[in-house]
Amino acid sequence: MGPLEGLAYGFTVAATPTNLLACFLGVLVGTIVGVLPGIGPVGAMALLLPSTFALHPATALIMLAGIYYGAMYGGSTTSILVNVPGEAGSVVTLLDGYQMTRKGRAGAALCIAAVGSFVAGTVGVVGIMLAAAWLADLAIRFGPPEYFAIALGGLLLLSRLSGGSVLHSFVMVAIGLALGTVGMDTVTALRRFTFGSIALSQGVDLVPVIMGLYGVAEVLLLAEQGVAKALIVSVRVKELLPTREEWRRSWAPIGRGSVVGFVTGLIPGPAAVLSTFIAYNLEKKVSRTPERFGHGAIEGVAAPESANNAATAGAMVPLLSLGIPFSPATAILLGALVIHGLQPGPLLIVQRPEVFWGFVASMYIGNFLLLILNLPLVGVFVSVLRLPQHVLATLVLLLCLVGAFSLSNSHLDLWILVLFGVFGYALRKLNVDASPLVVALVLGPMMEKTLRQSLFITQGSLVDMIARPLTLAILAIPVMALAVPPLLRLRRRPRTATAPVA
């Protein structure tokens, strides 16, 4: 099935009443989650995962992904109107977005953010169609060594890009990998690190870990910060239209932001956040008037808002074509697919085309729904901010607890949730990013399986395992990413040291 044929088939799947409703609910919840500071898309997806168990896999995926990209739309609203990022991907937007609000151009900023998100989301979906299908064709030739190399390379790259110290990221990776070894060994059925607990034989479930690290930790931080009331600016529908000059200034940044975002999304790491910084800096560099940035330049809203939406689409490519998630959000989508008995990877397109193409087509529909929802209803979404935050936080916490319990009706999941909630809170206080832990927990069992298979195939020869053209090419990327920056620093150091003498 070619991309266009597949997309046409996908629309027949995505346009069924159930899937349309799932898409609408997903983007609605996503927008609300994006608007509310403190509650991120990852926590919301983890929270709603148990409620998708009874749904068709395509419907579940459509709803959960809707939350993810919907949050990117919603996050800009809070950044522009309140000067507080609704979620991490909207931090850069507030630099110019809030300045535009102060100048009375909030409506134009919101409109450009929504249109930019729509264009970027659509460009991203075209990217998924082309790249995922191509990569899946290539991935059919991959054996266990290549998959091991991708997982290892992904973790190494993620450690480099997740921000902060590489050593801290490695600690997170080690914890994630160690957690992934808890439970029954799939080959010998030997119980490892279970300390006699039967419940632990099933391993450590991803969802309570994510809910704890992202949901509970966020609520603990909210509790610590106390109740704060936001000063909310109201915007009328007629104020939403940008001027002709603002449109003219925005088209190119939207285009560049879309491409930058999609490419960044393919790389392991916090793509949605990273892409906004790259897109913003790029616009500043190419602008003839960079001094306007930070003082209400519309390009400073258009580029990052386009980039974060395109990045969410880019992040879907490795998940759908290789079955490998490079971010906590895509890890949850992977979890949803596995729970529904699907094996994400290159064969997904061939074996379950209704899931793959239905999901891709739903992203077109979802982006269109978001455009309709976000512009006229901006006032309604902003009014969500008037809810007392401590009430919302308490109710979210209760939902986390019931959601974690309902995963496998186990009290152990509740304790895991609380434990990782406290751990996630401590990590935030120490400024350590938790995403390498989550990705390592997902990739760990796959790494172990593929490593054991590879060594079995090559009769224990590591050289034979690595000396395959594809494996070498895959491993070269993270090795270069890790080795080149320190080498460049080393080369520069003597020059700076001798500079005063010269």
């Binding site: 409620s51 009874a54 050593l167 801290h168 490695f170 600690v171 080690a174 914890i175 990998l177 160690a178 070894t181 060994d185 080959v187 010998t188 030997l190 490892r192 690190f193 509970v216 609520v219 603990l220 931080l221 509790a223 610590e224 910060q225 106390g226 109740v227 007392p388 401590h390 009430v391 936080a393 308490t394 109710l395 916490l397 209760l398 939902l399 607890l401 019931v402 319990f405 309902s406 009706n409 009290h411 509740l414 304790w415 609380v418 909630g421 406290v422 809170y425 120490l430 760990g444 790494m447 172990e448 490593l451 054991r452 060594l455 079995f456 009769q459 224990g460 590591l462």
Partner: protein, 150 residues
């Protein structure tokens, strides 16, 4: 100081994990056993822990603030009380059942975070009843009902 404590804890936990991993059957490199991958992870964790230790001891000690601001202490107390209420929820749910524990959880937490007892109690009742109905009745999650269920 904090960095050194964290590095020490990481190294100690990594050491215990490696010790447990070494007790598992390792197999051979051609036929790796269930202990093969955990051993590699354990070695990696110990190396990273040692690296943290070196980095922490090479970095200059930062002066510790003698007195935390009152607002900071109050914030930490609120976060700590949230953790205590969460732990109480997990510990009491099997004995008292979900509805009562959910009511107590929401009421106490809201009051601790700034609501009046009356408002907290009303929200507590509504949250416990609605969540029990949605999850326990509509979605069939076997939430513990406590000693009062027959």
């Amino acid at each position: 100081m904090l960095e050194r404590v964290v590095a020490l804890v990481v190294l100690a936990v990594a050491g215990v994990y490696l010790r447990l991993a070494l007790a598992l059957p390792y197999g051979t490199t051609a036929r790796p056993g269930p202990g093969f991958f955990p051993t590699l992870v354990g070695i990696f964790a110990c190396v990273v822990g040692a690296g943290m230790m070196v980095a922490a001891f090479r970095a200059p000690m930062r002066a510790r603030c003698a007195h935390a601001a009152a607002s900071e202490t109050a914030g930490r107390t609120r976060a700590l009380s949230t953790v205590v209420v969460l732990v109480a929820f997990c510990a009491l749910m099997p004995w008292l059942g979900y509805p009562i524990v959910a009511f107590g959880f929401v009421t106490v937490l809201l009051q601790r975070l700034g609501s009046s007892w009356r408002a907290a109690g009303i929200i507590g009742v509504v949250a416990a009843v609605v969540s029990f109905y949605v999850f326990g009745v509509l979605l069939d999650v076997p939430l513990p009902r406590g000693p009062w269920s027959s």
